[in-house]
């Protein structure tokens, strides 16, 4: 509840920002051959731009209050429909990418911390640096080139599912889950194959911060008194590293993972473009380029809400990792 004022602020700010931008959506969308002043006026009226800005804002807030985010000129659909169709795609991709990133970053970080200054440490550092230096569209195109074009192992990088595969009944919007619910193993496999390359591309980019933070916080906890005590009483290596050191080191990793997740969801536009992934980020970018107000406003509101939810989730996870924290 306490986040409502923040969401309201975001809403009004985005609304005003879009109006300040110098592009006029009506002129842009009326750019078919022969579209003249009259067509521009029609579109302006359709978008409600013929009214003064304060009135537009009130109307917009009233609509948002009733769950109506307006209509996108670009796709011709209601923004809520567009976002509902596209958000699961982005979430599925981002969650998978985050999972891949965590599964590879935490062991890498731990290994690096166990032997600081060693070949392993430098190797991990190099790998992370590479991952973070190479922009996602470069690594994306590279992966496509190798796995799709050269080796022919990956399916064609065009969206969530092969165009020839029929879709399962939509229950969650997550294709991999929907296929499982429908009991369609071939379909699940097809969806999974489409998912793995873009997810790997995104994961490569975020492994670095996660691995680095794991390493740093592991170093601190490995050097602490309780680990020395555990060592001195002769506990097993595994128990020292995983139960004592890692559990204490995981808090900052959770925080970073929360932030990384939120940024990934909004910033994975390049991955979505390269893989023709029908997600929310590429939708928002297209809308921004054509000054289509409603989708951009809807997208920002959605992202702000997700950020609030993710923060809440991170707090809950804190409680699990560290019983001293209460929410």
């Amino acid at each position: 509840m306490s986040s409502l004022p923040a969401l309201f602020g975001v809403l009004v700010f985005t609304f005003l920002l879009m109006r300040v931008l110098p592009g006029d959506p009506a002129v842009f969308f009326a750019s078919g051959p022969n579209a003249g002043k009259e067509e521009i006026e029609i579109i302006r009226k359709q978008m409600g731009l013929d009214k003064p800005v304060p009135e537009q804002l009130l109307l917009y807030l009233y609509d948002v209050g009733r769950g109506n985010l307006g209509r996108s000129l670009m796709t011709g659909q209601a923004v809520t429909t567009d976002l509902r169709d596209r958000l699961p795609a982005s979430l599925e991709l981002t969650l998978t990418a985050l999972l891949i990133a965590l599964v590879s970053a935490i062991p890498l970080g731990v290994l690096a911390a166990l032997k600081p200054g060693s070949v392993i440490d430098h190797g991990v550092r190099l790998f992370c640096a590479l991952g973070v230096c190479v922009p996602t569209f470069v690594s994306g195109l590279l992966l496509i080139y190798v796995f799709y074009y050269l080796l022919g192992l990956a399916p064609d990088p065009t969206g969530r599912i092969d165009v020839f595969t029929s879709l399962p009944p939509s229950r969650t919007g997550f294709l991999t889950i929907d296929f499982l619910l429908a009991g369609d193993v071939d379909g699940w496999w097809a969806a999974f194959r489409q998912l793995i390359l873009p997810a790997a591309t995104m994961a490569l980019f975020v492994i670095a911060p996660l691995a680095r933070i794991t390493r740093a916080s592991m170093l601190v906890s490995l050097g602490s008194d309780f680990v020395r005590t555990a060592r001195s009483v002769g506990l097993s290596w595994w128990r020292i590293v995983v139960t004592y050191a890692l559990r204490n080191a995981i808090l900052p990793v959770i925080t970073i993972a929360g932030i990384v997740f939120s940024t990934m969801l909004g910033a994975n536009v390049l991955v979505e473009k390269v893989y023709s992934w029908p997600g929310v980020a590429s939708y928002a970018l297209d809308a921004l380029l054509s000054s289509d107000y409603a989708p951009v406003q809807g997208f920002v509101l959605l992202m702000a809400s997700i950020f609030v939810v993710v923060n809440l989730l991170v707090d809950v996870l804190y409680g699990i990792a560290d019983p001293r924290v209460s929410i």
């Binding site: 969308f29 051959p33 670009m74 891949i100 020839f164 097809a190």
Partner: protein
């Protein structure tokens, strides 16, 4: 130790490779399916909706029929649409009265809508009434063919339909073959109309009610459209047979990915690749590349004739002689197009009445300096040169060359790259002094180009030229029935264009359709998209 730390990484790559290795099972017969990939997207099923995209136009050509359609002809060995050959589509035949004021269409007796009901003259009347009265895009287009009011359309009997014109307008008939005047099943549309929306505009945006060659199977705006063939469709010809059973139109934003898809054989055809990719694909020789100069379009550098210093004719001429045309042509288009510079006119007069036409201008810095001196600005001036982000791949290298070359005669240029919506807004408000744009005319007759792009205080008059003689001649040419006199007018217009130099025509870019070698029948269409009905697999 080294191996141990590499483990997770190589393990992951190995697992990735393994996971991806299985072959997909194709449910439908691939050979009977056409898969078309594009960077743009389809946003409506009714091309008339304000804001509809070019891809939406292409889809509507397959889902709806019009009364008539264009034939095709060969231009330098490539098939292109033919403005002068108009054949019946829903009309079996048509008569034009001797005074060119009345068009009578005889509808096919066997034509049916996709729901099985017959196509009648009432449906035609309702559809054309909608195109000229509803707030749709068709209105402005049909205006160019003197089709403005529902009173002009008359039902004679269920299979005969008559159009009356106020003036003998040559473009009336071709206008009925353009994208907008689709023939809609009026019973279905009326059933879905509301009091606020008597023309069912919002319903038709997401549904079709036509008689076209393809039926919409699924439509996801911004992602893909899947269509299946309407087996009852018999409006085809050997050139336009709609031979594919299924058509998939898919949005793939990244041009490199589109190139990969076509090269791997997963997609059959695409028309919007980057020039550099097309070159490398062409040299490999495994695909068919059909390059057609877009003969109804032109890319130019425009100068706002009302903003100083471009209001001075000598400044415009100076700029025209200071551009490095050959280098720009190579850098921007890799030479893929028809140049409109460097022509030779023996007696200083235009050699053609057609538009766009090649002008006798070339890089000549001494001449440019003289003109600049004549304009009273021997030391040059400063200005900005704008282009939009959407055209960056061709406009960016071009802008750099313009800047470099103009600096040699003292004109300092700042390059301004604008988001598309911003650029069109500024053009509409006539605020840009110096910029590049491209134009296209669906019905490329000389008077149409001049009337739309060189007259009046309106958006498409990019150079804001206001020349009384040009305006009068273009208007006169519009209703000129005599071919010889029309050509005279065309020559005159072209001569004025060269003398006034309102904007500098650069070239006509090629439309490069890249397709699998098995695809046949590709024809360059006026809307610059693929007409899926043209294609077949050998």
């Amino acid at each position: 130790m080294r191996l141990r730390y590499c483990g997770p990484f190589f393990g992951a790559v190995g697992a990735l490779a393994l996971l991806l290795a299985a072959e997909p099972a194709l449910a439908q017969s691939r050979a009977e399916t056409l898969r078309y990939v594009t960077g743009a997207s389809v946003n409506t099923l009714d091309p008339n909706v304000p804001g509809s995209t070019r891809e939406a136009f292409a889809v509507s050509l397959s889902t709806y029929d019009r009364l008539v359609s264009f034939g095709r002809k060969q231009l330098n060995g490539k098939w292109v649409f033919d403005l002068d050959k108009i054949t019946g589509e829903l009309a079996e035949s048509y008569d034009v009265s001797p005074d060119l004021m009345k068009l009578t269409f005889h509808l096919r007796k066997d034509a049916k809508f996709q729901d099985g009901t017959p196509v009648t003259a009432d449906d035609v009347k309702w559809s054309l009434d909608r195109a000229v009265t509803a707030p749709v895009l068709g209105k402005a287009q049909l205006l160019t063919g003197s089709l403005t009011s529902a009173d002009q359309f008359k039902v004679i009997d269920p299979l005969t339909f008559e159009v009356t014109l106020p003036k003998p307008d040559k473009l009336a008939l071709p206008n009925l073959a353009t994208v907008y005047p689709i023939i809609i099943n009026s019973k279905v549309a009326k059933a879905n109309a509301t009091a606020d929306d008597p023309w069912a505009i919002s319903w038709l945006k997401e549904h079709t009610a036509g008689s076209g060659a393809y039926v919409i199977e699924s439509f996801k705006p911004g992602e893909q459209v899947i269509m299946k063939r309407n087996e009852a469709w018999n409006r085809g010809s050997p050139d336009k047979s709609a031979s594919f059973k299924r058509v998939i139109v898919q949005t793939v934003p990244e041009p490199a990915t589109r190139a990969n898809l076509v090269e791997r054989g997963d997609a059959d055809i695409t028309v919007d690749l980057q020039a550099s990719d097309i070159q490398s694909l062409e040299s490999k020789g495994t695909l068919k590349v059909v390059s057609t100069p877009q003969y109804n379009s032109v890319t130019f550098i425009s100068m706002n004739n009302t903003i100083p210093p471009f209001d001075n004719i000598n400044v415009r001429r100076a700029v025209a002689y200071a551009l490095p045309y050959d280098d720009m042509f190579k850098a921007a288009l890799f030479g893929r197009g028809t140049p409109l510079f460097g022509a030779s006119w023996t007696d200083g007069k235009p050699t053609t009445s057609a538009f766009p036409f090649p002008q006798p201008i070339k890089l000549d810095l001494d001449k440019a300096r003289e003109y600049l001196k004549a304009a009273g600005m021997p030391d040059g001036f400063s200005t900005t040169f704008s282009f939009n982000v959407g055209q960056a791949s061709t406009a960016e290298p071009m802008a750099a060359l313009v800047k470099e070359s103009l600096a040699k005669i003292g004109i300092k240029v700042d390059i301004q790259k604008l988001p598309d919506a911003q650029m069109s807004t500024q053009i509409n408000e006539k605020k840009l002094p110096f910029f590049t744009e491209g134009i296209v005319a669906w019905l490329p007759s000389t008077d149409y180009f001049y009337r739309n792009f060189y007259t009046g205080n309106q958006r498409w008059n990019y150079s804001s030229i206001n020349n009384a003689e040009l305006t009068a001649t273009a208007q006169e040419a519009r209703f000129e029935p005599d071919k010889a006199k029309y050509d005279q007018d065309g020559l005159k217009l072209n001569a004025i264009h060269f003398a006034e130099m309102p904007q500098i025509a650069l070239w006509q870019p090629s439309q490069d359709a890249v397709m699998a070698t098995s695809i046949d029948g590709y024809t360059y269409q006026f809307h610059r998209q693929v007409d899926y009905r043209d294609l077949r697999r050998k």
